[in-house]
Point group: C2
Chain length 315, copies 2
């Protein structure tokens, strides 16, 4: 029996999205901060975003259930974003993994892994090579999709967007009774269809349903110079992570090295009208991180430091 409260199969599962920070530093580890890595939890799956050295240790430390990770994304070929990959892949095999792993990455990552993993892995790695400048949907699930978009760094680099799909329309039980719509058509109503009965009656969808919830969006902007060109790709995201390697007095150095300052990251968040901004990829020259917040807040108020071990939930 179909409940009158049936909301469509996509309406109830995707309870939340959660981002856990494993490493937040740039090229050199410093002050106990590890190089870049994050885990995104979505629809009961985990996704590993970049994999700097020590990411697997941080996963253990923070209680990440690594066997639930089936997709890994590497933004670019700088070591602070992938030197932990071979160790993690190797450990997965030693832990007995048999399920295939999807790896979305630049072409050279495959060579790096093959030069070091001399023994057979217990599982297959399925590579999806991301080409320079590519903008594409990489994972298309019933309930979410993950896409890549180019950012602007010294080597080909991509950001990634995790988008919960817009949830289906919600039935109004009293209304569907009132309009005498048969239960077999409820699913069509949830998909937005109007009801046209055999006897000629016509019921507009909006009379018997409410709009579905907004699908949450998280965007990871990887390493990039200040680049307003990325704004269309991250427009109105609920949460973005944007690198902020430097503070404002190193703005010129940031530009020269294709990195951003905290203030520039905040300007992007403002222009893209996002909900919240996470700052990370801090230069090893900084011991104290509070100044990053202080410089970003006047431009974009809802900003946080992506500190290691912190979890950011999108409810």
């Amino acid at each position: 029996m179909i409940s009158l409260f049936y909301e469509g199969e996509n309406n109830v599962i995707c309870a939340y999205m959660k981002i856990t920070i494993l490493g937040n530093n740039s090229a050199l580890p410093a002050y106990g901060r590890f190089p870049t890595a994050q885990v995104i939890e979505m629809n009961e799956q985990l996704f590993l975003m970049d994999c700097g050295e020590g990411a697997q240790m941080r996963m253990q430390q923070f209680g990440i259930r690594h066997m639930r990770i089936n997709h890994i994304f590497i933004s670019h070929m700088h070591g602070d974003h992938f030197y932990g990959l071979v160790g993690y892949i190797s450990s997965l095999s030693l832990w007995g993994r048999q399920k295939e792993m999807y790896l979305f990455c630049p072409a050279d990552i495959k060579k790096v892994l093959e030069s070091q993993l001399k023994w057979a892995l217990g599982f297959e790695i399925i590579y999806r090579i991301i080409e320079e400048g590519e903008r594409a949907v990489l994972v298309n699930d019933d309930k979410f999709e993950i896409s890549c978009f180019p950012v602007y760094h010294s080597v080909p680099t991509h950001g990634f967007k995790f988008s919960e799909k817009k949830r289906k329309r919600i039935l109004l039980p009293e209304k569907v009774r009132e309009y005498e719509i048969p239960a077999y058509f409820y699913k069509n109503l949830c998909n937005g269809e109007d009801y046209a009965a055999m006897d000629g009656r016509f019921v507009k969808n909006e009379l018997v349903t409410l709009p579905g919830h907004h699908g949450k969006v998280y965007a990871y902007c990887a390493d990039t110079r200040y680049a307003p060109e990325i704004c269309p790709d991250i427009m109105c995201a609920d949460l973005i992570y944007h690198e902020s390697t430097y503070l404002e007095n190193d703005q010129q150095k940031a530009t020269e090295r294709f990195h951003s300052t905290a203030k520039e990251a905040a300007a992007i968040a403002k222009e893209a009208q996002v909900g919240q901004l996470l700052l990370g990829h801090f230069s090893s020259k900084y011991k104290e991180l509070e100044p990053f917040l202080e410089e970003a807040k006047p431009v974009f108020e809802n900003v946080e430091l992506a500190l290691e071990g912190m979890e950011f939930e999108l409810q």
Copy 2:
């Protein structure tokens, strides 16, 4: 003026040898324990012994002055002994190193580094490839030498021995005056020569000197099955590190996987008549490490766990 207390140029500098444990676990990191790496301090120089993932973070944590490391030794081609190498080498370059680095390793390490270090390093790596089964002096300094010897693992693997050279004989000031030996000959006396004067007088060295101090020896026995064959190479060392991946109830597994138990490591220490034994390379299956000591002590009393952050000094 040469002091009467002149002891020969090699007698006063090499004050001590110190071993700092950076990582003590086997293939899989576990319970906060990192894969294998150590730093040996000798004659005011630092030597990096194996470089598991995260070794550079541990160096920072324990205050190791990485710029003083000019020699790195990799025992074998298993990832838990070298996955941290590319990150460390990369960081050295970013820190501005220009001085060459000597790397003693299996041939494949060079390929691994070259596949990942796409940009030019700021310094040269001078490779000394160690061939399977090789037994050789790798570093021959005035005051110490470092040699390699084969151990018995599932892939070609070497142990390394750090030997302070036997210190020169010590002059007895009153005796050299009594025998009227001229100051220019003191250095020869320290080198063990007898004194033959132009007037026919002959003074046996032992009459005017005392024996020099015993040169300290540390041996790192890498990954190996129980192998009494290695005893001649580490005989009477002051301190050895011997792997003890398993406890006694996994003795068969240890043998199958070319690893040792704590009891077997203790048996090697006993047979080689060493001064002290450090146990390490613990399997990730063990949370508690005390049982390793309990099983080793009845066989060899002077045994310690190589816990991360611990320093072992040879005075």
